[in-house]
Symmetry: none
């Protein structure tokens, strides 16, 4: 189990690392916000222990940057503050658990193990582009605060476009991935469904998320239009 510990109190961090190593974890250390963020980005850790007060970039910002990048590594936040407000803050921003300093080492390990046991974080696999959101789990689509009802095909098409937002996606690519096998489907079917999506997701809101790129395909604006 690989852990990343980010804390600017070097002595504490070292002590923590030693203890965790003795308990069988592989531990990397970082002492600033930016360094921690970098390491969390590239190293594939099973969990991150993150102080709130960090030079350069606060723990809050680190975790929200990670979540913004769809990085759902479990995060345990540490803080010297103990106000309820701060605690709620940390959790809202995407941390998975919270511990206030001073804390007991045993409790930390217990919570860490709980986090790891919980396994892969229940990731909010919500695809989004601006205020356009699609939740594959609940099969719901929202534009801002409004729920939008889509048929199966419309939903699948939008999902694919969202997963490749910003890129130009050709009609053949869409036929391959959204319409599965049957290659004998008329490319016009794509046009028809794009038209449906626009009618439901763009027109009523005066937006323009689905752009046509003549001769190439379609592009979904990453900012939702």
């Amino acid at each position: 189990m690989r852990l990343l510990v980010v804390d600017d109190e070097v002595r504490l961090a070292r002590a923590l690392a030693e203890g965790l190593q003795a308990d069988g974890f592989a531990v990397d250390l970082a002492h600033t916000g930016p360094d921690g963020l970098e390491l969390a980005r590239v190293g594939e850790y099973d969990a991150v222990v993150l102080d709130v007060l960090l030079p350069g970039l606060s723990g809050y910002r680190v975790v929200s940057a990670l979540r913004a990048e769809r990085n759902w590594v479990p995060v345990l936040m540490l803080s010297a503050k103990d106000g309820e407000y701060d605690q709620a803050d940390g959790l809202d921003l995407g941390a998975d658990d919270y511990l206030t300093k001073p804390f007991s080492y045993v409790v930390l390990v217990a919570r860490l193990r709980a986090l790891l046991r919980r396994g892969v974080r229940e990731r909010p696999v919500v695809l989004a582009a601006g205020d356009l959101r699609l939740d594959p789990a609940s099969r719901r689509v929202r534009r801002g605060d409004a729920d939008v009802a889509l048929t199966t095909r419309e939903f699948a098409l939008l999902e694919y476009l969202l997963r490749h937002a910003g890129r130009v996606v050709s009609k053949t690519e869409l036929l391959d991935h959204v319409w599965d096998a049957a290659e004998d489907t008329d490319p016009n079917a794509v046009e028809v469904y794009v038209s449906y999506l626009r009618r439901k997701l763009d027109a009523p809101f005066g937006r323009h998320a689905l752009e046509t790129v003549r001769g190439a395909g379609y592009r979904l604006a990453p900012d939702g239009g």
Copy 2:
């Protein structure tokens, strides 16, 4: 894993090499741009760590020379500058990652490992000549900060010219590659489309990227005019 480190600060380079060797890499050193380019050409490295500021040939030029030769070795650029502009520049020119000095050794190694894990570099995502950028994926063209809308043919023509920036490209060559089969197309069509491109990419910006080479063809200035 064989690495090439190119940096003119000899002490830093040595220190880096020692650290990396301790971490199990085989490291070669170069201290000037031309030397680095030579080594990168002939030695088959798994990755290259490249300073931007180098005597003889800047890191930018080294990496773009490599890419022009279809050498896709992963490159991690180092720079003393930290402006976003420079960073974008480096990445556009074909570097795979970027780190500003001073950097943490741990972060460097982490990024290197990420690069190596990523394996063979995926082709450059953005073609550029000066402030003229073309992104094949999103099918977008920008001059500086301005988006420029191009038709399919205009886009294909510009893409070909960008891929051969600095070279003189003949009209027949363009007809072959941009107009595909149909050999019976009037070479005047090329003139027409070059004219369109100039109208959209040069004239509004007072630039002059597309030069006519009478009797030979056209050349796109590698610095964007």
